[in-house]
Symmetry: C2
Subunit: 216 residues, 2 copies
């Protein structure tokens, strides 16, 4: 399809598509003559993802470029390809930059190490705090501790098991896609777009459970 | 304890405590003479919660005041007391204000209604979109659809079941507390502080599951 068709099919304006092309967020089309290029399904898919990251995730252009570089890196095994793409995304954690060596942070490090051991999450133990989600989890637990809401391993275990189940569903759904690139794109879209769905499902589930236990 | 002790025990500065008192976020202490008042454990607990909402949740003072009014409302049954307090909090959803009647929003309404029926969540069906989490879920699903990532009921069911389990853990932990007021405070703290923990656990669980399936 031509640029105008790409715009029409995606609902993204010509000006925005040209901006994405210029910024390297969308790969160039296949040149068919001096002034025109041909675009295909992969461009449409990529355009969807870029729009999701920028418009919904409010992710800066430089970060989007970095995420996509990992998504497109055919030299990586799938775990590292998914990992690198997701690690480049912003992580949900508290805004403050807290000291690395206060007692709450030390306690949170111990807590996460203990939790991972109890869970038997061997890859996660091995990768350690190279994974920004690991660091963000430590920071979030340190904040809870610092504010007077300390948690222990038994508090966290059932939630971690719950998320283990959700992760298995995530990958089941991802594996339906035919190529590692599409799978990595899907994982990124899921991280950006699915978190609000999950959090709102949790709040609805809390209201439901409350109605069951305590009546309306 | 005196104001100075409250500051020391909580780690919150005197100036901040006085500001919270002035704004009505912290109830006044029991007057013991013309210049001094006595504070107790309930002040310490409330101070923790206010700080969590303002510093971590970045929730505006007027909203904090509204949330606390519901937390303190002894006239409400527990489901509505928890509900009202949580409903007053900001909800995780996409920033844009989308049209109410576009095809994606209509489809999302149908999807959520179908999901709730399949789940048998009767309270949630009854309360409907009075619950802002219901509206936020519809908006998040409409965005997914609009961006070219439509979901159906079978996609969502396993995640909703997972969140149902997590909600049961939430309430089990809350019920350990002795009074409805403390339970409502706990629910608010959980909504503000525990979401980053849950989302980061999810990302770690995805990495773990990926390592298991595809190797490192």
């Amino acid at each position: 399809m031509r640029l105008a068709d790409l715009s029409e099919h995606s609902g993204v304006s010509l000006a925005t598509i040209k901006y994405y092309l210029r910024e390297g967020l969308l790969p160039p089309g296949r040149r068919i003559n001096a002034t025109q290029a041909e675009y295909d399904e992969s461009h449409l898919r990529r355009l969807r993802l870029v729009r999701a990251m920028i418009q919904v995730g409010r992710i800066p252009v430089a970060t989007v470029r970095e995420v996509l570089a990992h998504v497109d890196d055919d030299s990586l095994g799938l775990t590292f390809r998914l990992g690198a793409a997701l690690w480049a995304l912003p992580h949900p954690t508290e805004p403050s930059a807290d000291p690395e060596d206060d007692p709450s942070t030390t306690a949170a490090h111990t807590l996460v190490a203990d939790l991972l051991a109890r869970l038997g999450w061997r890859t996660t133990c091995e990768v350690g705090d190279l994974n920004p989600a690991h660091r963000a989890l430590v920071a979030a637990l340190a904040t809870l501790d610092r504010l007077g809401y300390p948690l222990d391993t038994d508090d966290l275990l059932p939630y971690a098991r719950t998320m283990e189940q959700a992760a298995a569903y995530d990958l089941d759904r991802m594996e339906v896609l035919p190529t590692p690139r599409e799978q990595a794109e899907y994982a990124v879209a899921g991280a950006v777009l699915f978190e609000p769905v999950l959090l709102n499902l949790r709040r609805l589930a809390q209201a439901e459970e409350s109605g069951r236990r305590y009546g309306l």
